[in-house]
Structures are given as structure tokens and as C-alpha cells.
């Protein structure tokens, strides 16, 4: 942990959060989708996929964590953007930045904030890149604006009941090879050549499957997010193209429907993010008062106390 880097809050691993996060970084042309399984058709429907973010509960370096693939230590480091993670809670942002900085898709625009940052850190080593990232004010404040609980800025350590640590790692294709970018490792991990003529996601699926299999015995939470091209923009370009040629087919209708779907999704994301960022303190206070005026407050307290008692007893029983 670095003192000067300020506070970074935990944020949720959610496609809506990440999609708006990158938009607020000033990046255009990309969006984030969640994958529910490693099935081929899941990847097929999202193509082209520019990078994957894999989230899991971090159980510390163990035998299960032995490194597959080799750590890159040669001149490729000059090209690959890799930052060491210096701030724990920043790992969600770190993972997405790793994709954005290495993405070469022509439809993506990095925007001034990340564009300047990329230029500025070009010659830095991974530790310096990580430090620069944690000190970048715009990136930090956008990241923190997605924290759900910035109302209650109290000492988290004294009250946190959940010590689980989640970690995000990035998988991305660079120059025909598959890399894993994990800020807790010493460098990018090279998972080898992507077979000629095959989509890179075919190469990443077994790597992820392998990783999940290793954890499957413990109860580990996984989450997989894909950074893909902005769908709405893509459909709109296709539609414009068809309309310019005066084509009136089922394809036109299908595209209109897809655009509509994307818009609905964006609205839902916005709604959820407004909910996430809202200051709930006035509502909580009024809610408690309203419960009181309906004589529901103290019964609720008793119920909550009872639950807590049961939890404590179970904990005790589990220990003895």
C-alpha cells in the first residue's frame, strides 16, 4: 500500500459498472458484457472480444496457484502495458486499464485521459506504472464514484465483517500470443501462440477452465467479463449501410431490434448506477422513522438481533 495514493474503494464486478467506468474514463467504442459460462457459443455471440477480466476470490499464493506459462522478461515488456498492483482495491480498474492500454481495435478511442497516461508511462517499469496509475487523479475519482458506500467514510477496518479478498486478472491477445496480466505477478504471463486462423478466445477457454477446476473444491466465487466492441454503434453502422443502399429486408428489422435492445440495456445500467451512487443516508433515516410510526422499528431490531445471535451461536458451534 502506498501512502500518497489516496483511498480506493471497492467496486462491484458488474458489466454496467465497467461499461460506464470506461465511458467516464473517456474511452469510446467499447462495452463490457458478462459471460455466464465458458461455452463456445457464449463467446461467439460477443465477437469480437478484445479482452477478458476474470474475477475470483483470492486465497493467496498456494500450490494451486503455480504459474502456468512463462513470465515475460524480454523486450516485449516495452510494448505490453503491464502495471504492478500497488493498491489492493484498485484491481478492478487496473484490470480494465490493462485491456484498454493494450487494445488495438480500430473502433476504440482511448480519449485524452488514458491517451496521455499511456504516453506518460511509456518508458516506466511495471512498478512505476502501477504507482503512476494509483496516483492518477481522474482515474481514481472515476473509480471511486462507482463505490456503493462513499456516504459512509469511516474506518472500514474496524467494522468490516467480510474479509474476503477478490482479485481481478486480465487475459488479452497481443501480437498473436495469449497473455495473462495480473498485477500481483512479476510480469505478463505468456500462455503461448494463438493457433493460426483461430479466434484467441478458443485458446483462452482451456486456460480459464484449468484455473476454475483447480479451485472447484473450495467455494470460490468466479466472474468473467468480456470487453467487446460497442454493439449499438456497430449495429447502427450496419443499419446505415443497408439503408443507404435502399435495402429493405428482415435484416433491417433485426438490426433495429438489436439497437433497441442495447438502448434498453444502457438505460438499465444507468438506472442501476444512479442507484449505486445515491446518498442513501436521508432515505435510511426517514425509513427508520416511518418504520417507527408504523410500530415496525423495534420488532425489526429484535429480529435482526435474533439473527445475529443465531449467527454467533453457529459460529461458536463451528469452532468447538
Amino acid at each position: 500500500m502506498s501512502e500518497g495514493a489516496g483511498t480506493w474503494c471497492l467496486i462491484e464486478s458488474d458489466p454496467g459498472v465497467f461499461s460506464e467506468l470506461i465511458r467516464e474514463f473517456g474511452v469510446s467504442g467499447l462495452q463490457v458484457e458478462e459471460l455466464w459460462s465458458l461455452d463456445a457459443d457464449q463467446f461467439e455471440r460477443l465477437k469480437p472480444v478484445h479482452g477478458l477480466i476474470f474475477l475470483f476470490k483470492w486465497i493467496g499464493p498456494s500450490s494451486a496457484e503455480e504459474v502456468k506459462g512463462s513470465v515475460v522478461q524480454d523486450s516485449r515488456l516495452e510494448k505490453i502495458f503491464f502495471a504492478k498492483q500497488v493498491i489492493q482495491n484498485a484491481c478492478a480498474t487496473q484490470a480494465i486499464i490493462s485491456i484498454l492500454m493494450n487494445c488495438e481495435d480500430s473502433a476504440m478511442e482511448l480519449g485524452p485521459v488514458l491517451g496521455d497516461f499511456k504516453e506518460f508511462t511509456k518508458s516506466f517499469d511495471p512498478a512505476m506504472k502501477g504507482l503512476a496509475l494509483s496516483n492518477q487523479d481522474v482515474i481514481r475519482s472515476v473509480h471511486n464514484s462507482f463505490s456503493r458506500q462513499n456516504v459512509f467514510e469511516f474506518d472500514q477496518k474496524s467494522a468490516s465483517k467480510d474479509d474476503d479478498v477478490y482479485h481481478f486478472v486480465t487475459y488479452i491477445p497481443i501480437d498473436g500470443r495469449l497473455y495473462e496480466l495480473d498485477g500481483l505477478k512479476d510480469g505478463p504471463i505468456d500462455h503461448g501462440v494463438i493457433p493460426e486462423g483461430r479466434d484467441w478466445t478458443e485458446a483462452v477457454r482451456p486456460v480459464l477452465q484449468d484455473r476454475i477446476n483447480k479451485y472447484s473444491e473450495g467455494e470460490i466465487h468466479f466472474n468473467l467479463l468480456a470487453v467487446i466492441s460497442d454493439r449499438k454503434g456497430m449495429y447502427e453502422r450496419q443499419l446505415n449501410d443497408l439503408e443507404a443502399r435502399g435495402v429493405q429486408t428482415a435484416e433491417v428489422l433485426r438490426l433495429r431490434e438489436l439497437i433497441e435492445e442495447e438502448q434498453v440495456k444502457r438505460n438499465r445500467y444507468r438506472l442501476e448506477n444512479v442507484r449505486r451512487k445515491h446518498n442513501y443516508l436521508p432515505l435510511i433515516v426517514q425509513f427508520l422513522k416511518e418504520l417507527a410510526s408504523h410500530n415496525q422499528l423495534l420488532p425489526l431490531l429484535e429480529k435482526a438481533k435474533e439473527k445475529e445471535r443465531l449467527r454467533a451461536e453457529q459460529k461458536k458451534a463451528a469452532k468447538s
Binding site: L271, K289, Q296, L297, L301, A304
Partner: protein, 145 residues
Amino acid sequence: NLQPAGGAAAAVDLSASVNGDLIRRITSSPATVKKLAPLLPQFGGPEVKEEGLVKGTSEEGCKTEVEETLLSPQFQHALSAFCAAFPTGQLGPLVSQFGMGSEAVNAAQAGNLEAFLNAIQQEVTTASPKEATPAAEGAEDMNVD
């Protein structure tokens, strides 16, 4: 008295017991909905409204929005964080901005959630006859008093 001898109580999470039943019990009162509605997250943008995500300003729409917000994971999470933060006493200064009586403010400063909730109940009960009767109009079983 209900107050524990040792001052600050163990962390109790109210959100775990907030459910649809409880919420509907209070939103059945239009006066309650009216007081909660302005404190909800405000959704801007005409597109959002068009999609039917915002239920509009009708009484029924407000009620639905209040219910949906109070049951949303985001509110539940905030309530849970509120309860977790309470024993630190750091919510005291924040809570004092909401026109609470001295007993509630003192309990918040001391980080005693149980004493705080008891103080709220006390305040509401003493102040309620005038204020709560219109809400209870036509609904005798609402236990307002």
C-alpha cells in the same frame, strides 16, 4: 431497559430482515410514501423515462418506486453499511443533521444502534398523534398509535 450494559452493542444488521412484507406494511400508507419519495435516487434523462424504468409521478407510481428502491440490492447494501458503521460513532455528526432529538444524537455519537432506534421510536410516538392520524384515515388496523 433494552440498552446493553457495555455501551456499544454488537453489530446488528437490519437489512437482513427487511423484506417485501415489511416494506408493503409501511408503503400502504400514502403519507409514508409521500415522505420517502423525494429521498429516492432521481433518474434523469427522457430516454430513461420512456423505457418505463421510471414509474412516473402518479401515486401508484411513487409507491412502486419506493418499494423497488427499498428492496434494491443497492439500498440494502447501504443500510447494511449504515449498521456496520454505526458502532464506530462516526455517523453521529451526520445523523445530527436530520432534526433528531438529543437522545438519538447522543446514541449515534456513542455508536449505540439499539439506543438510537429506541430514541427514534420514542420521538415518533410522542410526536405522532397530530401527524400520523391523517395517514391512518380509513385504516384502523395500522397501529399508528
